[in-house]
Amino acid sequence: MFRIGCLVKPVPDTVEAVYDSKEHVLVRNRGPQLINPADATALSIALEYARKNPGVTVETVTMAPRSALPHLEDLIRRGADRAVLICDPLFAGSDTYVTSRIIARCLQRRRYSLILSGMSTLDGGTAHVPAQIACMLDLPHLSGITALAITKETAEAEVRTEQEILTFEAELPALLGIAYSAAQKLPYIPFEAVTRDVSGSMEIITNRELGFSAEETGSRGSLTRVSWAREYRCNRQDIMQVSSDEEGVRQVLSFLSEKGFIRP
């Protein structure tokens, strides 16, 4: 059986997110949430491969509060075969290292031929978790993938650096980090599936199944902690208009170079 695991994280809408400045955590069960866009790209790749290859199954794995359940139910309605939610009060406040340990231990419970993930998330944006899970599970790892072709034993992946485009072959099983692509979208929920009861395809994993001690998880087990966090307010800048000619191009390039977006 070819089973694809997709790490999926509901993330706060970056505009409407609620931050608890006292506890230094995002309040994940308040405010609008969306599926992390890069994770959605990864999942859509998996679903597309499963559609074309009978016998391939796709499971999503998520570590989040229970408020994530409706999002995961919708992913099943969009074509995922199963959704696993890792949820326990003990896990709240975990940094990326502890989060990686928790998810890795959950993934070890099933045999996956391939694990896909978004390369980073909108909220933290560290890109730590896929790499650390791969290390903990001793899986080949590559991230920043912009194109992926999957076979039963290997995956061919394209990665773009600032200077070149590289193609790699990864032996499976592997854990691969996918870059967000606006062109790769999740399928719509079919009309007949909108109200379908998918609870039988959901599983909630708590610490009872994973067996961590309190000292290993949450803020107590974390190796980093947030000391402070502040919102960053942009100051209104004067608008600079450029013409669509050589001079305008020169001005834009100069601006991008000065701000560090491109090399001089």
């Binding site: 890109a127 790892h141 070149e164 193609t167 919102e231």
Partner: protein, 192 residues
Amino acid sequence: MKRIAIFLEEGTREELDALLCAAQKLLRGEKGTISAAVISSGEDEAAGNVSGKVDTLLLLDPDRYHIWDTAAVAAAVARNAQEHRFDAILFPSGTFSRMTAPITAARLHAGLVAEVTDIRDEDGTIELVRPALSGRMFAGIICRPDRPLMMSIRTDAFSCPPTEAVPCRTVRSSLEPDAGIRSGIRLGERGI
């Protein structure tokens, strides 16, 4: 904070200067040592850029190590860190260092802070400043003090006056890729 290691992905002067600037901020004017690790034969531009700017230059054999083989590179960096007991390990936020850094941190069971844009000393405690929520917020992060301080830095955020040249000891690494590390990644084509 006495012993600092930096890892170079591209070995360019800009990357090196940014990492050295961050390292100097960590030293806070105290005397310390800076070691650099780079995949290089010693005859290329990367080695030339580094020589004279750090106390020790560790060359990882390019016939054995490849920047995209992040598992093997991370294992080597981690072993080097354990041997020399670095207080801090700095990476650039490059395409492959974004993978190498967290794998190294996992091996060392150390906290890692990504995309650091500033380093602050708050009454003796080092705070690493980074953006969050897609740049809507900035946060100060503290790492556990009983482990190496690890970070990846946004190289464009660090700029310092040049420092004096120092005697540099070049070491060709005898670290063989760990036979127990399964890479499973092979390079295919390169294009533009």
